[in-house]
Symmetry: C2
DNA sequence: CTGAAAGCGCTTACAG
DNA sequence: CTGAAAGCGCTTACAG
């Protein structure tokens, strides 16, 4: 015998063998019944006995054994840049909810630095048995990782030829936002952009310029600032804009989190939102509702996003259909942070 | 042969046998080297050959097999009521960071309703191989669950005889907060309490009353309101307080999230914080820094909390010491939402 | 409808 | 220092 022998029955968790013994059936029958595959394979009497015995013993199938044998863990990993951004917390909740309906669970992996790619994913590979990956990181993974993730990962709000994407209609949302401000009479519109030069943010900027051009509003270099996703950074950036000689009457932010910095700077400068300056966000996260006045923003519907994400990933995993590229519509949510341009 | 036979080598993921074959060693040697247990057991030459072969094949150990055989998954589950509350997102990050240093990973489980206890934990039991549990839910689990969790779970900010607790010094934090307001000259101090009647919130209320009494300030029933953790609810509660004939000059909230509702209500009523009313929170989450002016609050240090939580859980799992009860000190963070009482 | 058995990919004690 | 082998607890095809 290979190992420290243990008298069965008195050990930690009960196994399917313990349940079988108690119910007077074979171990295989236990597995079938608890796996929901007993139809026409196990008699009524046995089924009842098995369920009773399992309950009495407090039996739960060993997930490692199940995963090892079946090759299926029913676990999906969601990779995001930062959970502390309430938007990604909502994305997690949306994905978790959609996944649960399909019998899957979601683990959350935070990818703070780009260097973490290797480390974190390797860790996830050796720690969890992850069946599928949803990457919402605005960063395309490195080549060796793409190989590991082939046919089991999708990208959200990003594009690469190496894996299917769920695209968001960022351009439409941004363009709605610009038109909203222009209709309110704004012409001095600044852009507080996100510092990372991911495609999703570059796109926002492109639409910002296009809209200015279409409405014959001159583009001004001094109305362009960029900020990291910290309050300090966005505060500084906003302060710079608001203290310009010819300060903007509206500031378009790439994210609700960045807009929070504008609120701080406006307060410092005794400016009132929206009377003195209109402010807009992007995401429609908790942040947009907490700010006073509530933030006009572009809503990314996290529940729908979760559903579509899970649907796309499962279709990829099951190879039911060729990877497709979809585009989720975003909608403008007008709240109290924008108003018509004041005559001063 | 039991099953669809597969010619080894050409299947999905490479196994330790593939690596062994390529390196010209036994499968066991591969396991030892990649498990970091090769010291004095495998020769230098073999080790190098194994590592090279593993790299070339892109080998990663199968986690389900490892967990099944070793009985250790290195996974800890953190159960919280709501990830959308930025405080719990920070708690997750703190725990994840501390756990990683010890070689563990953390999965996040959200427990919205008390009814979910059974369902979610059972699911976690059968989906993940969870070694240890951290319950930060302000709810003590039901009896049958306590049995399942025996000797592998700890409770944060809650108490039961059934499992070890990490206690937070809520009383101290709340008492500091009350003294801060009283020193500023406030006597009309209202309490916007959390609706759930968990011990942690009842304690805040007890300290609130004690402090009033100690400073000979009369307790007023009309200064007591309770609110769920939604903006709508806390807005309503705050509105009620602020429209009293004899409105309070300070509102003490059980959580930063609740304070956000006070900001909204104050804005509606054209009241300025802190000039017209001082507001305080609890947690020191992202919310407290986003609000304008930033919120005076009681800080729960999520990084330290994560470290202590993991340390306590691991000591319980390893049975290195008897479960102990510790109490994490909290500190007052004075920001811009509180000021001296204005003479009107 | 039921039972006996193979085997998922590892870890680990043991014999050499 | 190396190799052969047992076995973790399941799932699933197969023989009855």
């Amino acid at each position: 015998m290979g190992e420290e022998s243990t008298d069965s029955g008195s050990r930690g968790a009960p196994t399917s063998i313990d349940v079988a013994r108690r119910a007077g059936v074979s171990q295989a029958a236990v597995s079938l019944v608890l796996g929901g595959k007993a139809a026409g394979r196990v008699g009524k009497k046995s089924q009842e006995a098995i369920l009773r015995a399992a309950k009495e013993l407090g039996y739960a199938p060993n997930s490692a054994a199940r995963t090892l044998r079946s090759g299926r863990s029913q676990v999906i990993a969601l990779v995001v840049p930062d959970v502390n951004n309430p938007f990604f917390a909502a994305v997690f909740e949306g994905a978790e909810c959609a996944a649960r309906k399909e019998g899957y669970s979601v683990i959350l992996i935070t990818l703070k630095d780009i260097q973490d790619w290797q480390q974190l994913i390797n860790k996830a590979f050796t720690t969890y048995a992850v069946e599928g990956w949803v990457l919402y990181t605005m960063r395309v993974p490195t080549a060796p990782l793409q190989e590991l993730l082939r046919d089991k990962a999708i990208l959200v709000d990003g594009f690469t030829n190496e894996m299917p994407s769920l695209l968001l209609n960022i351009a439409h949302g941004m363009s709605d936002m610009m038109q909203h401000l222009i209709q309110l009479g704004h012409t001095r519109i600044a852009h507080l952009a996100a510092a990372p030069d991911d495609e999703t943010f570059l796109l926002r900027h492109r639409v910002y310029r296009e809209q200015l051009q279409q409405h014959k509003i001159p583009y001004r270099d001094d109305y362009q600032v960029r900020s990291a996703f910290t309050l300090e950074s966005s505060y500084q950036a906003a302060y710079q804009l608001l203290t310009l000689k010819d300060a903007p009457t509206a500031i378009v932010c790439d994210s609700d989190m960045l807009a929070a910095g504008v609120y701080q700077a406006a307060h410092t400068l005794h400016l009132t939102i929206p009377a003195d300056v209109s402010v807009t966000g992007f995401d429609d996260s908790l942040v947009s509702r907490i700010l006073v006045p509530p933030l006009t923003t572009v809503a990314i519907p996290t529940q729908t996003l979760g559903e579509q994400t899970i649907a796309l990933l499962l279709s990829v995993l099951e190879k039911k259909q060729a990877p497709y590229f979809d585009s989720l519509p975003l909608s403008l949510v007008v709240r109290g942070s924008t108003t018509t341009i004041a005559d001063k």
